[in-house]
């Protein structure tokens, strides 16, 4: 789990409970990484003399011991390579019979990028179903390249890379020559970082003095304003990333002659690059697993374990990401009752949708919380913050007052699949847009300023209640909003504050409502207006909310990327 290195004990218990299983029903636990190979890379890195802050990583048996002693599991523990787990997470969720597979992130064990070929019907072991063709090894890494740019531009490494992507749209590619010096293209699938510009192996920061010389500007301090230079560097780096990915995809297609591409790893969350891959790569179809980062690699490891033990492969395409804990309407009401929060109870769905749509149409920002939570980094209509898509001032309000984000960051639109082409230049058959994983041009005749990025694109979410019945209610809300405004498009962002996880429970949602200052919360069948919160409740919430008293994140430094 990103930013949480502890063993996911509660997630383990939740998964069993959700599946109606006891620990006695579990045949194997799959782990998404090979600890001894990772240790080899970590030991190799030690030789560069970088600071050693902890030695806890010197324990290749740690993950298995934690599974045995903390989860209490005594059966088989299967480990799979990090990038193979990523690859399997995309392939087995794609529904394809066969596909080329591309993975790219910062680093796993040694690999940072992998190319493979997967065949659902292959006989034999898991490793026969997803074969690795070639790898790029550490320290040469697209993820680390992008993270170093992130650090240089004053953002947090392994966290804020998406900000660089957002910033890139404002810039011009003035520094392409410079960024091309950072990363050299090799034969076939290879590429190499020019290591004299990087310091993550040795020092306290990601980039070297040579890097600073190359760009002729000091690194941006987190508190400094963003200038055209920063936008241009971001744009140039984004462009290089996209070009490298397109070239490697072309090479992979040439090697495999596959029609389909499955793609995963942290870099696969770069929706601008994904859009170009889908549109410009030689593959007919591109699938990205919605939890493409490390949080979703467990799915691949589990699929590989299933394949190894059962000799069969998962067959169906993942059509939604609503895999997390549920909130039933009864639970929501029970929590609201205990808190003395009245709100408007809606006995029928139409009435609820009308209430929320009316609020959204009048310019309110509404928390929309119902059903099972999304797995992965995107809120897709179960733990969402929604608003009308028209007015840029609403975007600015959400950025500044509710989510505490930089003003340059865009928001994504959600639209029913059957209306999408009225507003966006998106291919209706895309497998990425249901998960908000690609950007496309906004073509709407009605200005959609709140969800249109400065370069005229948007990271659109297509909502298809026929293919995915779990999104039926969200689709109905889009339609209800469309009836009022003529545009069935909503700004959809995750319901969380800066640096916080997305809300999971009804209690989380209520706390977020108090803390973040949006206008209304639709929780289950109840719509709560801000004025419904008792005054005393507001005081108390601050006392009880562990996030409310947390100091704001400050002082982002240029520390070493987390390599261990």
């Amino acid at each position: 789990m990103k930013h949480d290195a502890s063993l996911p004990v509660q997630a383990f218990r939740f998964c069993l409970r959700q599946g109606g299983l006891a620990i006695t029903d579990v045949d194997a636990v799959a782990y998404f990484e090979e600890p001894r190979r990772k240790l080899s890379r970590q030991l190799w890195t030690l030789g560069f003399g970088g600071p050693v802050r902890s030695l806890d990583w010197l324990d290749p048996h740690g993950p298995e011991r934690a599974i045995r002693e903390r989860l209490g599991f005594a059966g088989r523990v299967l480990t799979f390579p990090h990038h193979l787990s990523h690859a399997a997470s995309a392939f087995f969720a794609s529904g394809f019979d066969d596909a080329a597979v591309l993975t790219a992130d910062a680093v796993g064990e040694w690999a940072t990028t992998s190319y493979g070929l997967a065949n659902r019907n292959a006989t034999g072991d898991a490793l026969d179903a997803v074969q690795s063709l070639q790898e790029v090894l550490f320290p040469h890494s697209l993820g680390l390249f992008y993270s170093t740019v992130t650090s240089y531009l004053g953002f947090r490494v392994n966290s804020d890379e998406y900000k660089v992507m957002g910033l890139a749209a404002y810039g011009r590619p003035r520094y392409v020559d410079e960024v091309c010096q950072l990363l050299g293209m090799g034969d076939g699938g290879q590429f190499r970082l020019n290591l004299r510009h990087f310091d993550f192996l040795r020092g306290e920061r990601m980039f070297s003095d040579e890097w600073v010389k190359l760009f002729g500007q000091p690194p941006r301090d987190p508190g400094d304003s963003i200038k055209a230079f920063h936008e241009d560097v971001a744009r140039s780096a984004q462009l290089l990333l996209e070009e490298v990915l397109l070239e490697k995809a072309a090479w992979l297609h040439n090697q495999t002659d596959a029609e389909n591409l499955c793609y995963a790893g942290g870099v696969a969350l770069n929706s601008a690059a994904n859009g170009r891959l889908r549109r410009e790569s030689p593959f007919r179809r591109v699938f990205v697993q919605p939890a493409a980062g490390d949080a979703g690699a467990c799915l691949g490891a589990a699929a590989l374990a299933h394949r190894r033990l059962a000799r069969t492969s998962p067959r169906t395409r993942q059509r939604h990401a609503f895999l997390g804990p549920s909130i039933t309407p009864d639970e929501a009401e029970s929590v609201l009752d205990a808190c003395g929060v009245e709100g408007s109870r809606h006995d029928d769905e139409e009435s609820l949708l009308e209430d929320v749509a009316e609020r959204l149409a009048s310019g309110q920002v509404v928390g929309w919380v119902r059903g099972r939570m999304e797995h992965g980094p995107r809120a897709l209509g179960a733990r969402s913050l929604l608003a009308a898509p028209f007015d840029a001032t609403l975007r600015d309000r959400i950025n500044a007052e509710i989510k505490g984000r930089e003003s340059f960051r865009p928001f994504a639109p959600a639209v029913p699949l059957d209306r999408a082409t009225e507003f966006f230049d998106v291919h209706p058959d895309t497998l990425l847009a249901p998960f908000m994983l690609e950007t496309c041009l906004v073509t709407s005749q009605v200005p959609l300023d709140a969800v249109t990025h400065v370069d005229g694109t948007a990271r659109v979410q297509l909502v298809d209640p026929i293919a995915d019945p779990t999104s039926r209610r969200f689709a109905a809300l889009l339609e209800a909003f469309g009836h009022r405004t003529g545009v069935p498009v909503l700004l959809n962002t995750s319901l969380n504050g800066p640096g916080e996880p997305i809300v999971a429970t009804a209690a989380d949602a209520l706390r977020a409502f108090h803390r973040l200052g949006f206008d209304a919360l639709a929780l289950g069948n109840v719509v709560v207006d801000r004025s419904d919160l008792p005054d005393t409740w507001v005081d108390l919430a601050q006392s009880l909310d562990p996030l409310a008293s947390r100091p704001a994140a400050s002082g982002i430094d240029h520390r070493l990327y987390t390599l261990v």
Binding site: L39, L43, V335
Partner: protein, 701 residues
Amino acid sequence: MSPVNDSRIPDPRRDASDELAERIADDGLSVLEAADLLRETGWLGPAEESADERAQPSQGICIWRPETRDGEPIFVRPEPLPLGDHYATRRAIPARRPADTIRVAFFGESVATGYLYAPRLTCADVLSQYLEGADATFDVVDLARTNEQLGTLVQTVEASLQLNPDALVVFIGNNWNLLETPEVSPYRSDAESRRLVGRALQDGGLRAVEEMAQTRLRDRARSALARLADLAEQRPVVLVVPEVSLDWQSRQPPPWLPGDDTARWHELYRDAITALDEHRFEDAERAARDMKRLADGLGAIGGTASRLLGLALRGQLREPDAARALRDAIDQESYATMGLLGSPRATTNAQNLLRDAASRLRFELVDLPRIFDEHDSSEPFFLDYCHLTREGLRVAMQAVAASMTRALGLPVPVEHPAELCSAETEATALLGAAVHTAHRMTALGDKSKIVERWIRAAVDASPGVVQGLLDLVEHRTNPSPDLPTEVQARNLASPYRLGFQHGWRWPHLDADLLRAIRRVLSNLPEATSHLATFDRLVHRRALGPGLGQSVDLTQPPYLWEPIDQIFPEAMEDRPSRAFLRCPWPETSFAVITGAGSSIHLEVVARLPTIEGAIGPRTGELTIELDGRQVGRVTLGESWTQQELRFEINASGLHRLTLRWPPLPPVGDAAFDSAVRRLERGLEADLHPVFGELYSVSAQLS
């Protein structure tokens, strides 16, 4: 196509790192052993001393930040949280001392904050009231805070000099346990600390660990107090030696004892409890002395036996002997965090360190053990393990006022304040004592009568507190205790305002508290109405029918003794496990039902593998409801899922108890195995775990 790694750097170091990683993995080296290997082979430099992590000096004083108002420097704290926090509520403290005023800076731990009375009554308030009778005007600045430790105390004292105090009061010593020497704990998360403990155990057993902790504590305490004397310069310093409750119980299981002695210890424990219950005090004494003999030579891990002995001697009216045994128990229980969570209380060692410091550093000494002993009063001094009652606060602060004025050359005030606090405040504090007893006391035997006594005292102090009782029940039984509830809001507006200290956020039902409240309500004039309300609230947590309504009794609301877990697992901020480990031969849960219920229980459990045991363990788990056996299931070392059904005739709160099979007679091997793991820097338990529960799902069938 075969995998190709053509970006591989031609680097012999890569082969070496591969080889080394294989060796570390194949040889099963621990983190520490691997680090040693890396140092031997030149991959790592020598171990560095850990950096001094003390906080940077700040311009503020504790949480009071510097500001300027009307050109005057002033220190301001954030708005107090509605449910309270760890600090005094005074918002602003001017740096300039008021004219013709003697300023006293008051430091200390939770006792010094007036815990369970605060913020409406604090030690500093009581001291101020006494000093009003002196021939001078005093300004007592309360800088005490809950969880104060020596390091932060010194920082606060140093920072407080910005307030130009004329005298200091320091009331510390109850937190001088593993809070001050956390590295001497087998449950630290870092491998180095585990190795430290493991090596001490290997060299000298538990006694060596205890001595190491005491030596470190002594050095840190002496150093901190000497620094405090330097900072005080010529100012008088009143040092208060805390006294603690001899009556508070903190039941602790023994670590693995040699051979079959662990099982024998538990048999004797059961015998002693039964004998005490039946007033056979000589038999109880015999069993307690046998228990002490079993733990002989193992250092101070014998608090429970000493406490049993004290209770047995008290039953025989041998009060001086009983007091000595109970004092021994407190001293021995101070290292309780070797196993289960203990209660912070000043040990004899801590008290003597303070007395010695007062003598060497010329502090004024307020020796509460002596003062309380000599004080003729029928009222109790303690609400719980160490926190003071109104009477305790009064006597302690009267002594501090006398000492302070003497040190300043002023006449000792002779007037007593009329009323220290309102009846409502008193009742709320007494209710807090009930809550603490129910939640934090691991009693030897039934504690519900003690809880009930505190609740009755609260009602006697102010009958209106009954609404506070019902508020507490309503909040504890609501589905999200971590959210502000309507009842909390209502309570905060009442004179019986409960705070964090009263367990507002604890997610546990605390069954003994609920039972005691019900019994007290049943004897009140409006019993029928109160009981109807109580039953309605509690039944919100009743079992429902069907799978969707099942509750897992291993989860926090239903644990009968919430802190009866191996130490780290009772803490919110420590790594958790997916299952419950049971450190006593029996484990109990609260079950709430309607009348005439048929219960379906599904237990997923196992017996942990124990080093040295011959063959896989098997045994029978006996299940009892309110003392009546309702089932038995056979367990082994693998998780097994067992189901049973039984009837419950009465409605309300029931106690479901699981009795585990006995331990195998392999104490030496089990203990040695734990020590070896600690020496390697791995997690280990020095205490036996009787059984493990993945889940106990209960529903109406």
